[in-house]
Symmetry: C2
């Protein structure tokens, strides 16, 4: 059974979303994986706008529940940060102890982008925090985005791939996606080996004692 | 044992973050809950910037693992969307089948904010998708943010509170936070009643069969 990879990213908003999802699906197959793309399934119709949105939310969560891994496209979207839906999905998969991977098509790190957002007008307070003119502090952790995303992936041994795509290929360049696939091939083998060596299930599986 | 609520939101970036967290903690106590605030714990020092970021990521995830519920402040942050770290955390808690609640201090919905982002220059394509000049489609689901966040909370029966705060109290106004607490008091009772009626554990608890 090939590992199922949920392909999260803002490319679902592109006019040629289908084309990009098909390319991701083909790449997954090439590396021995099965792709689960948000938007693959038909969403049941609804009487209201909100009802339709809720239906998509349900289908996407069910897709993630059935997936073994996620590759999250964290390329900044309509601003300086990653697509919030993709961030939700990455958190969702981290909590389930799935295999996680992320890539971005922008070379500037989170701190550099936030610095640019403030036009460089940064001050440092008595505690050493860098702050914008609005008083809000900046994360300066050499990470591609907020520490929960970058940290969530890196702490689980997942790849965080940075690739500077051409401006007109910001959401379509799949170089970083393919690098994630290569890393997942290795991670998958390591996880299988860990199982064979008798690592306790609770170290691999998610559990919740609420 | 009081229910433990993880208080997620961009107020951690405020100069008076400690003051806001203390207020949230006091409000939680007032409603019979215990607050778990990111930033409450001392983060172990690290040799590198990234190492420190990774340490915070670990501590925040451990806090969420130990919490029974989350109240996510989805007020837009440095742009038109919610703080991405908060979105990761909301997804993380949804996946663990915890109690979830969200609020925003901006009255305009996600669609209205995106429309403003594009200066109103929206077109509708042949398939009925509304698109900005960059070709990216807009979600129009009468939701406060991307459907994964709003849907993730509403589908679980959690409150999604909208409160128009004053501009200078965007990240400090706790009206919506308190409304979430009131709703969680009710949800907590419902969940306890469902348990007593013998709802199967797998309908209440998270499990992961990866």
């Amino acid at each position: 059974m090939p590992l199922k990879i949920y392909t999260a990213g803002p490319e679902v908003f592109l006019p040629n979303a289908r084309e990009i999802m098909d390319k991701k699906t083909a790449l997954c197959r090439q590396y021995g994986f099965e792709a689960i793309c948000p938007g693959d399934l038909d969403i049941p119709p609804s009487d209201t706008k909100k009802g339709f949105g809720l239906a998509i939310s349900r289908v996407d969560e069910e897709m993630m529940d059935s997936a073994d891994a996620i590759i999250a496209n964290l390329t900044p979207f309509r601003g300086i940060a990653a697509d919030v839906g993709t961030c939700f999905e990455l958190g969702y998969m981290c909590a389930q102890r799935k295999l996680v991977a992320a890539y971005t098509n922008i070379a500037e790190c989170h701190y550099e982008r936030t610095l640019a957002y403030y036009g460089g007008k940064i001050t440092e307070d008595a505690d050493g925090y860098k702050r914008g003119p609005d008083g809000l502090s900046l994360e300066d952790f050499e990470m591609i985005d907020n520490l929960m995303m970058h940290g969530g992936v890196e702490r689980r041994g997942g790849p965080v791939v940075v690739h500077a795509a051409a401006a007109d290929a910001l959401y379509t360049d799949l170089t970083g996606f393919e690098e994630c696939l290569k890393a997942l091939v290795i991670l998958q083998k390591e996880k299988a080996a860990a199982r064979d060596e008798g690592i306790r299930p609770e170290e691999l599986d998610a559990s919740n004692d609420d």
